[in-house]
């Protein structure tokens, strides 16, 4: 997987979540994703950015245009320096929430993208990488 273009955005306030969504939408349109795929990407970005803000005390998002031999895709990386996730399996389960939300954000985002990778070290932070291929 080769990265052809990348940009980093901070996630520190709820206004940044809106900016992150707009950025992802803009890139998805530029890369000619279909309307459904655009919406899926934007929604996943919204969920994960808000997670990084609410649970991870803020961090940043990296947007990347990636390609491998066969196809191109949009890769999003969310990094925070929050308390981390102790039980990733439980966190991915629908309905699991610690913050009063619906508990669908993490599991839902996983279903909205093609590749979903989550790394978390308790006490150090969480990094979530998602890719949607065209």
């Amino acid at each position: 997987m080769r990265s052809t273009k990348r940009e980093t955005l901070p996630i520190a306030t709820s206004a940044d979540v809106v900016l992150a969504r707009q950025k992802v939408r803009q890139w998805a349109i530029e890369m000619k994703f279909t309307l459904v795929d655009q919406t899926k990407l934007v929604t996943a970005a919204s969920e994960l950015a808000r997670n990084a803000l609410d649970h991870g005390k803020g961090g940043h998002m990296v947007v990347e245009a990636v390609e491998n031999t066969a196809r191109t895709g949009l890769k999003l990386t969310f990094e925070d320096r929050g308390p981390g996730i102790t039980d990733i399996e439980a966190a991915l389960r629908d309905g699991f929430t610690t913050g009063g939300g619906m508990g669908l954000g993490l599991g839902g985002s996983k279903r909205l993208v093609n590749d979903f990778h989550i790394e978390s070290q308790p006490g150090k932070g969480t990094r979530i990488t998602v890719v949607r291929w065209k």
Binding site: R21, R25, L35, E47, D94, G101, G105, G108
Partner: protein
Amino acid sequence: MSKLPEIIQNHEEGIRSEWLKAMSTTVRRSDLMTDSEIQSQTRELLAAIVAGVKSRDITDLDAQAWTQTREVLQSISASRARQGFTPSETTMFVLSLKQPLFTVIRKELSKTPDIVFDELWAATLLLDKLALLTTDAFLETREQIIFRQQQELMELSTPVVKLWEGILALPIIGTLDSARTQVVMESLLQAVVQSNSRIAIIDITGVPTVDTLVAQHLLKTITAARLMGAECIISGVRPQIAQTIVHLGIDLSGVITKARMADAFALALQRSGRAVVATQNGAGAKKQEAKKEE
């Protein structure tokens, strides 16, 4: 004792005309304001400065004697912020007074070069402080404008419309962040009580992204409306939004949803025992038109 007050007072008109000339080459924006406006502004400000420099410390702008100057400058820069001047153009309005003032000081005190420097320094300090004051006032006005626009947007984007007796519509436009949701919920519940409505249509055509937070806010609003005896219908669910909601796993099965507002309205009419029918006149007009075409 500084000679600055005396010099400015004696040459007030000369300084002003030079000032206007200097401005015409730098920051004169005839597209944004008229000549008479700028004439009166310069006259007002210079008069206020003359009153101010008579005070003991001519660089202490917080002093009583400078109140008038402060007020004049604040109102000038506030009006410029609203007229669409840039911050630097507004500051240059004050700073372009430097050259005319310096010229006069040099001419007046040419015989005592030692004092010239002191007076110039005092004049520089004074004008710099006035310029900073202008910038501050300018930014303050901008911030007020932004704040007011935010409030207006908040109000604007959440109107509750009465479609029919007992049927309300709430077209939501834009991001449903928490502050907005609060306004949406409040205005809907208020309208339900006031108009004694039984059905409310929440239209989300203008909401670009429906994620779990937005869905949760919507569900809470619907639950609250239900507690008050009003049923909610969500309309404006676009294909891509529908697919996303399914993938996210949001359960909207307890809510009536429609793709178009028209469908939601038809359902609302049906539920309240009403129907839309074509009138005799309308039908007649159609027949006549058909005849003409033949």
